[in-house]
């Protein structure tokens, strides 16, 4: 039964039977995104100076990692259903970042210990979201709205100096820069050692494990899942916690890349993470996730930002472009669904 729920809604199955060949190609989110990827790439390669250089491609990889990790967490959360959404990913990133920064920069703690504590803080914030949602039964939108305030405010408090001003930390030892500023065979380390492995792990988790099947089933129909003996609460608790952990890993990479920790890091990444997740085919009411497509989408969006910047579009249009992209993706969805029905 779970298998039939797995990847496609009933509508999709119907449409596949009706118009198999077209539907197969177009309902495949990865194919669509790759097509879009090639078109956008070709456009910028022609019109943007220096876009098609090795250095630029490298920087696209670097910038895609942090937002990509947040989007992956967001994807799991949205997939779990019950109005699942995480507005606090950016704040969790900010709080973890400033905790790591303070521990190393102000208290001179051992780097590795500080990193572990930072990751624990991120995981803890995610777990707290999960607990409020699962046990206090507060809808995710409200829980994460409230914790977005809480965590970003905590981040400011942690960074406060004796005069009550929020201070950034930037005296990291040089070895700390290894996570965000080094590369392996010319490819950024964080891309190879963090982004790709995490994507693969999550892909396996969602597509190949019992946990993943339970997650998709929970998001599709909570009541049926409960009746089939799935511990829905446990699944939800896990996805919010994972989202927190991923935000903390993103915090580690970002503080290392810019060699500085500020409490407001990640403050405008919530919208972007949700956009990328939806662009990657995550169904906003839960039950459908395509981890690989989200991976592609995060690179796509980073590339779009980068390309627009290079052809001289003002950077303030980045959020606007993101909004148009999101609406465009959803309109495309609508057309495809209508066609294939």
């Amino acid at each position: 039964m779970i298998n039939s729920i797995k990847n496609s809604t009933v509508d999709d199955v119907k449409s596949l039977e009706k118009n198999k060949s077209i539907a197969l190609i177009f309902l495949n989110r990865k194919f669509l995104l790759l097509l879009l990827f090639i078109i956008i790439y070709a456009f910028f390669a022609v019109f943007a100076h220096n876009f098609n250089s090795f250095q630029n491609i490298e920087s696209i990889m670097i910038f895609s990692v942090e937002i990509g990790l947040l989007s992956l967490g967001e994807t799991l959360v949205i997939t779990s259903g019950f109005g699942g959404i995480d507005l606090s990913v950016g704040s969790m990133l900010g709080l973890s970042a400033i905790v790591i920064g303070e521990l190393i920069g102000r208290f001179g703690l051992n780097i590795w210990l500080a990193i572990i504590i930072g990751l624990l803080v991120g995981t803890g914030t995610g777990l707290f979201n999960g607990l409020m949602i699962v046990y206090a039964k507060i809808p995710p939108l409200l829980t994460t709205l409230a914790t977005m305030y809480l965590y970003s405010s905590l981040a400011l408090l942690v960074s406060m100096d004796q005069y009550g001003n929020a201070m950034p930390i930037s005296n990291f030892p040089s070895i700390y820069s290894i996570f965000g500023q080094s590369n392996i065979l010319g490819i950024p380390l964080q891309f190879i050692l963090f982004f790709i492995p995490i994507t693969i792990i999550l892909y396996i988790l969602v597509q190949k494990t019992i946990f993943g099947k339970h997650l998709l089933s929970t998001g599709t129909d909570e009541i049926v899942s409960k009746l089939s003996g799935i511990n829905v609460n446990k699944i939800r608790l896990w996805v919010y916690t994972i989202s927190g952990l991923l935000a903390a890993i993103a915090a580690l990479i970002e503080t290392s890349r810019i060699a500085s920790a500020r409490p407001d890091l990640g403050s405008n990444m919530n919208l972007e993470a949700i956009t990328i997740s939806v662009l990657g085919g995550t169904y906003i009411f839960g039950g459908t996730a395509d981890i690989i497509a989200v991976f592609i989408a995060s690179i796509l969006v980073t590339m779009l930002d980068n390309g627009l910047f290079l052809i001289g579009v003002n950077t303030i249009w980045q959020t606007g472009a993101l909004g148009f992209l999101l609406i465009g993706a959803l309109i495309l969805d609508l057309i495809i669904r209508k066609r294939s029905l």
């Binding site: 109005g83 959404i85 409020m132 206090a136 039964k137 507060i138 809808p139 939108l141 409200l142 829980t143 709205l145 409230a146 914790t147 977005m148 305030y149 809480l150 970003s152 405010s153 905590l154 400011l156 408090l157 406060m160 009550g164 929020a166 919208l271 949700i274 956009t275 939806v278 906003i284 009411f285 003002n314 303030i316 249009w317 980045q318 959020t319 606007g320 472009a321 993101l322 909004g323 148009f324 999101l326 609406i327 959803l330 309109i331 609508l334």
Partner: protein
């Protein structure tokens, strides 16, 4: 209904307790006439916008583009007024622009069937980019006093914006309880299928509330503009969160079907009292967001607990 009465009285009690505590801490300065007026003036934009947001949330929707609409309207009317447009025309342009932006939200939500949170997230980004485009990244300052009058003018020594807010609140309390459209909003939120079969025009209602909300955000923008006297590209950032917080603290159910204008009014007052009290009692302002976040969690979880007990 009994539940809401109880909830509203709990929050009112909370507000009174806070006023007493803050007054003691600030040795009476908090409860002074001028400060109470100040709190009300600060609360006006949130209260006026919360009317629209309450209607939207009752239909199980949400609008996170509110802050961006406030920013875009505020910036556009400021820039126009600096180019010599007569302020009353500017007011009309601002209200129309707000309505148009809200209408566009409804278009995405109703015609393209995009979930409200996603649609308004997208327009939040788009509208914010437009603010920067209109302003060119610069501040707008030196607007004619007539334009600012909605937010800064006074009648009998009482700020005009307070009268405006009271008028809006009274009309929409009547609207939500007696007018057909008002009742339809509750019907849609309670059971959309039942509403459809009993002949409620859902599309029309959705368009109505999002457009109206846009107009109300525009009014809030005028109030904020008058208070601050300048427009920045970041105007209204985070405003949507304050409004949503006020609405849900006031007892509107985020899953739709329940909620009152009075509740949102009280929720907004609580937010305003806390923000003002924190500043006056020398608590680091960094804590404001913390308190706001904690308040949302406490308000909602008590709500859940009360409901569970009633079911049991």
């Amino acid at each position: 209904m009994q539940l809401f009465k109880r909830r509203e009285s709990i929050i009112l009690f909370f507000i009174v307790a806070l006023i007493i505590i803050f007054s003691i801490v600030t040795s009476g300065r908090f409860a002074s006439y001028s400060n109470i007026i100040q709190i009300l003036v600060n609360a006006v934009p949130i209260i006026i916008s919360s009317i629209g947001m309450t209607m939207i949330i009752i239909t199980a929707g949400i609008d996170v583009s509110a802050g961006s609409i406030v920013g875009l309207v505020g910036m556009t009317v400021s820039v126009l007024s600096l180019q010599g447009i007569w302020s009353p025309y500017d007011w009309i342009i601002g209200l129309l622009l707000g309505g148009l932006l809200g209408f566009f939200n409804a278009l995405l939500i109703w015609n393209l069937k995009i979930a409200p949170i996603i649609a308004t997230l997208a327009t939040m980004g788009i509208y914010r980019s437009l603010v920067f485009t209109v302003s060119g990244g610069r501040w707008a300052i030196g607007m004619p006093t007539l334009l600012l009058w909605i937010g800064s003018g006074t009648i009998f020594n009482i700020p005009f914006s307070i009268f405006l807010m009271v008028a809006f609140v009274i009309y929409f309390i009547y609207f939500m309880s007696k007018r057909v459209t008002g009742r339809n909003i509750y019907a849609i939120g309670n059971n959309i299928e039942a509403a459809r079969t009993s002949g409620v025009s859902i599309g029309k209602t959705i368009f109505f509330i999002y457009t109206l909300a846009g107009v109300l955000y525009a009014v809030s923008a005028f109030a904020i503009l008058g208070r601050t006297g300048l427009a920045q590209s970041t105007m209204g950032t985070g405003f949507e969160l304050e409004v949503i917080a006020a609405v849900v603290i006031g007892g509107t159910n985020i899953l739709g079907g329940e909620g009152t204008i009075v509740g949102s009014l009280i929720g907004a007052l609580l937010v305003a009292v806390i923000e003002d009290g924190i500043v006056l009692s020398n608590i680091p302002p960094l804590l404001t967001d913390f308190v706001l976040g904690a308040l949302i969690l406490i308000a909602i979880s008590t709500d859940v607990i009360i409901k569970r007990r009633e079911i049991a």
